[in-house]
């Protein structure tokens, strides 16, 4: 993941080198749905990422300019991770993944409302969602 040599000039290939593994998009998902997270928040996710992998992925995403890390304003033992504009711009992609998955896998209860909203007005959902992340 912390690879430096480009495989090709292809936009798909370049993208995959930034977030194309089993874990990165889950970290990005958490940041999009929960807004801002600490290391411990990521560890609580149901997929149970190994702690060393999480540390490695957070560093990779930071190096790729997709997330930033800053000191928690209320507790100096914590750090806050948040999406950069580059990360926020992955929002439409996450929406499309949800739409694809909806067709082929059972949708968990807590995502049904979101999918309903997307179906009502996808453009509005994306616009509002991204605006909230920029606050």
């Amino acid at each position: 993941m912390a690879n430096t040599k480009k495989r090709s000039e292809c936009p798909i290939s370049n993208s995959l080198e930034a977030w194309g593994d089993k874990w990165s998009l889950l970290i990005i998902r958490d940041l999009m749905f929960k807004g801002v997270c600490t290391y411990g928040d990521f560890m609580k996710s149901p997929e149970k990422i190994a702690t060393n992998i999480l540390a490695s992925r957070l560093l990779d995403l930071e190096e790729n300019g997709i997330i930033t890390k800053e000191i928690h304003p209320e507790n100096r033992t914590k750090f806050l991770y948040k999406l950069t504009e580059k990360g926020i711009n992955l929002f439409p992609l996450i929406v499309e993944i949800n739409l694809w998955a909806e067709k082929y896998y059972p949708v968990p209860e807590e995502r049904k409302e979101m999918l309903e909203e997307i179906h009502k007005d996808k453009e509005a959902f994306i616009k509002n969602g991204m605006a909230k992340l920029r606050e």
Copy 2:
């Protein structure tokens, strides 16, 4: 990749288990842009996938119902790989990846025309592109 145990019920996580690695979406990209491919066609792609990885990914994608494999009608030493409806439905995702990458990486000359089309009328581009793949 040929993992069977679900990490969670999350649509993003389920999707990543089907195509969330460094190579699968490149195979899908080739099938979308070239229409139908043989093993050798995939090997010619600029990213230079290792032959054992390609064989493994093709099998995984087939097992996940994203591609099919059939005998080449004109040459019995070859096989034709093509996208299923499930695979074709990844088209909007591939479009969004291209749009994201356009913002952050140099766009290769041969993709500029496509991106122009997408910007003119994204919905139409997706509709037409998917229709062509179904022919």
